[in-house]
Subunit: 257 residues, 2 copies
DNA sequence: GAAATAGTGTCTATGAGACAGTATACG
DNA sequence: CGTATACTGTCTCATAGACACTATTTC
């Protein structure tokens, strides 16, 4: 295709070598929970998983890769990523954020490709229907630890590492845990989600700190029932636990104060 | 130019409409300090400034814009940004970080352009020589507050706002203040730098906190002279102040613990 | 001695960290 | 009655936040 750009001067972008494509790649994370065998009421095992697709074409035919696709002229990179995300998972209204750009020369054998990575955090509940519908062999969720040890297409191993570092940092400094939780959740669930993403995270007094310390009070709030009584859940425990929800309040972290 | 990509299949990127360019735009911040008139030894006035260039060509001829330029096939976006940065300012080895991508359709009248913004933090000392050399009328530092009120080319007002938000956040959560400071600095200088970037920042006990609280101890350290005595400076004060340097240690901030 | 910056003393309320103890309900 | 989760009590030490106070040097 020969590009002609009409404009008011003699400028023409077609004088220059231009990129062969600007793809978006999406790192779709979800947390899979599995009931522990034996006990009924107990906290589930949780595992961070990432969605990969198996390539059917050159290049990297047969290899697993992050889902993605090319941006077209009439959409933004973000639109493109959301479109791809919906095609791959069937879900909308999902937490997605821009992560990084990959532009090293030679990173894509098809030509000069500037790839943009987006991280999507999808609640497993939203993914369930879809998973049943087409359990295609070429689209699968892998435990992140497994994906890290696979040889992925392109520079996708690096993209995955960067994305992981990105969400680990965000998990601790923002309230993105919300994306992996139901609207109403218990403190243990929140704790588990954080630990699933950031395994090093540990805090004996977590419950007390998140609910009772002044500086953090306001991040989550107790859910109340119709009559003003506190709403509880005993999904995971004999003793019912208080349900909480995020408030939207986000304290500003600082090194210096 | 008609693109032909040789490869082992019948894939050809040239079948698709491709972008007309992938520019990098650089938001070059510096902190200008000015001695206060009258008093000799006193803390200078500091002001956050941003570098703009005046466009000579369509589009937006005559308007001020962020410096930037097109990426070529044999460099990464980061390389491109560093190249442009050096062309514009003559400096290397500067703190620069990737900020965001701008891809809204129609954002550039020349065609389909996916722009990548980089934030550079340049110490005014490094900029001084250059500024004297060519004080070109079409490249200037503006106070950020002035730039915000100008009508910049393209979507550069938005790019600037995003970059500002980016460095404000980073200023409080990382040690990028380092980029605006000499190797050895006083606590007051550090405090001033933070305040210049984040005007809301205020902390009566700053000195004590940064030097004496366990959780933060290790971010900066006292500079010692040859004989192990503490190195002081009285550049800004009658009473000499302890000099500090950054250690490289970066505590991990967390909402939850 | 006034001015300007640097730094310390001290008090109170809050929070971190650790560990033991109690509460609830199911099987 | 054991077990798994959900909390609460309590102790110690560190920190935040506020405000007054002292220290050093120059003009």
């Amino acid at each position: 295709m020969n590009k002609q750009i009409e404009n008011e001067s003699n400028y023409s972008a077609s004088k220059y070598r231009t990129p062969d494509g600007v793809p978006a790649d999406i790192i779709i994370f979800t947390i899979a929970s599995e009931e522990r065998a034996g006990t009924k009421k107990s906290l589930p095992m949780r595992e961070l998983q990432v969605m990969l697709i198996q390539r059917k074409r050159w290049p990297f035919e047969g290899k697993w890769a992050l889902p993605g696709g090319f941006c077209d002229e009439f959409e933004s990179m973000e639109d493109c990523a959301r479109r791809e995300l919906e095609e791959e998972t069937g879900v909308r209204d999902v937490h997605m954020e821009y992560c990084n750009v990959y532009s090293a020369p030679g990173r894509d054998p098809r030509g000069w490709m500037i790839s943009h990575s987006f991280v999507a955090l999808v609640n497993e509940a939203k993914l369930k229907d879809r998973r049943a519908a087409d359990d295609a062999a070429d689209v699968r969720l892998f435990p992140v630890s497994a994906a890290q040890n696979m040889e992925l297409a392109f520079d996708h191993n690096q993209v995955l590492e960067d994305a992981l570092a990105h969400i680990r940092q965000k998990m601790l400094t923002t309230t993105i845990a919300k994306a992996f939780l139901p609207e109403e959740f218990t403190v243990s669930e929140l704790y588990q989600v954080i630990q699933t993403v950031v395994p090093e995270f540990a805090d004996q007094n977590f419950l007390r700190k998140i609910t009772s310390t002044q500086s953090r009070k306001g991040i989550i709030e107790e859910v109340l029932g119709a009559n003003g009584e506190r709403k509880m859940s005993n999904r995971y425990s004999q003793r019912a636990a208080q349900l909480y929800r995020f408030t939207g309040y986000k304290p500003q972290l600082s090194l210096y104060s």
